[in-house]
């Protein structure tokens, strides 16, 4: 949110400055050059922080390997148990080899979401480019694995044998469409939730300096907007976790489809 530039507001002189989207701008950390493929940008910085946070929790936090866990170690074990149980319950026991993969997705999304809530930070998961890669990874893994494990039998996912015969081609068409729409909804759900929440906070934040412009209306608007920011921030903390959870559980559901395509 600190990515907002002060110049626009300064030039306008008076009036509220609404730049809810400026927080999503990608810019180089060093210098002002163009953003190339390997440029070190704020994306790099916040992804590196995400990686460091995950290493801190999952590796440094568990380094004592104590039987009676410390606080950090219990959190790491909680994450481990939570995702492992989810994979087992939703995708089945034979999906356990994919547990590290699901865990990677969950922890990356969870930590990106939470780090993005720090004021002034950059939310990597609010970018469709990022979430689309995550969703396409899941989609490609699931599709390839389905065909490798079941060959052409994977196509029975679309042919619902329990439905009446005349309905089956129509249902198959719907199933195929919904199958290919999966990565779209999977990625835009996460990016949209993150972007919308942050943009709303930013819009309310823009109302906060009203008291500087006009003491009369500002006395009402400024406290209201600060209260609203607080409330929405709390909601965003919840949404950050829920979206990571939903992304992960949908990954498990898709994995189950690939492992057991027969309805």
């Amino acid at each position: 949110m600190a990515t907002e530039t002060q110049t626009g507001a300064a030039e306008q002189g008076a009036g509220l400055a609404f730049h809810p989207m400026d927080q999503f701008i990608v810019k180089p950390l060093f210098g002002d050059g163009a953003v190339g493929l390997f440029t070190v940008t704020n994306v790099t910085l916040w992804m590196a922080l995400t990686v460091l946070a995950i290493i801190g929790l999952m590796v440094l936090g568990t380094s004592s390997r104590s039987t009676i866990p410390s606080r950090i170690q219990s959190v790491a074990e909680l994450c481990y148990g939570f995702i492992r149980k989810m994979v087992e319950d939703v995708a089945g026991k034979d999906a356990l080899p994919y547990f590290p993969y699901v865990m990677t997705l969950f922890l990356f999304i969870l930590f990106s979401n939470f780090l993005g809530l720090i004021p002034g930070s950059f939310t990597t998961t609010s970018h469709i480019a990022v979430t689309a890669v995550l969703a396409m990874l899941v989609f490609l893994t699931v599709t390839l694995m389905g065909f490798i494990k079941h060959g052409a039998g994977f196509l029975s996912l679309f042919w619902i044998s329990s439905a009446p015969l005349p309905l089956r081609p129509i249902l198959a068409l719907i199933e195929v469409i919904s199958y290919f729409v999966r990565p779209v909804s999977h990625s835009i759900r996460l990016a949209g939730n993150m972007m919308a929440g942050h943009a709303v906070i930013k819009v309310f934040a823009a109302f906060a300096p009203m008291i500087i412009l006009s003491t009369g209306i500002g006395l009402i608007v400024t406290p209201m907007s600060i209260l609203a920011i607080t409330a929405i921030y709390a909601l965003e903390v919840l949404v950050s976790f829920i979206q990571a959870y939903v992304f992960t559980i949908l990954t498990c559901v898709y994995l189950k489809d690939a492992l057991h395509p027969h309805h």
Binding site: T5, T7, G8, E11, Q12, G15, A17, F18, H19, P20, M21, D22, F24, I25, V26, K27, A34, V35, G36, L37, F38, T39, T41, V43, T44, M47, T50, V51, I54, I55, M58, V59, T62, R65, S66, T67, P69, Q73, A76, E77, Y80, G81, F99, P100, Y101, M103, T104, L107, F108, T124, S126, H127, I128, A129, V130, V133, L134, L137, A191, M195
Partner: protein
Amino acid sequence: MATETTAAAQGHVSPLALEEAGKCVDTHGGAIGLPQLCGEWMGNQVFWLVVALVIIFFVLSRIALPRIGAVLAERQGAITNDIAAAEDLKAKAVSAEEAFNKAEADARTAAQAIIADAKAEIKGDLDEAMAKADAEIAAKAAEGEKAIAEIRNNALANVTEVAKAATKDIVAAMGGKADAKTVNAAVTARMKG
């Protein structure tokens, strides 16, 4: 969007023109349109995302997850061992209690036997003493009876003597002449009657 105000500040360049030229940021560093849809930045994001994911995946699958799994398994093992040890101790306690109960029961039966023995012994002694006392008492009674019979016989003999003498005297007083033999026979007959 922020585009209107910044465009007013710029004066001459329309934001739509900038957007069409493929620009994502206006001259003040503000966003044009949706930063998420800016194609210029996507390659960079994807590259760093892949780097981050690969690092996380290898750290998790090589170090963190096996370690946590081992810790959890170890804890599970420790808990199982502790429970087994507790069961063992409990079984030991139960067997110790059983041994104690058995010893107690044994002691109790032994005590009972000793008591019964003592009782029997005492009873025997008592019976013996009783029998002895009974015999003594019987002997004494027999002796007494004998003495009483003797006394009675003596008394009877005396009474007969007295009766015979009195009868002789009474007969003599009446003026008869008492034949000693007849008087004796008559008195003896009366006494029997």
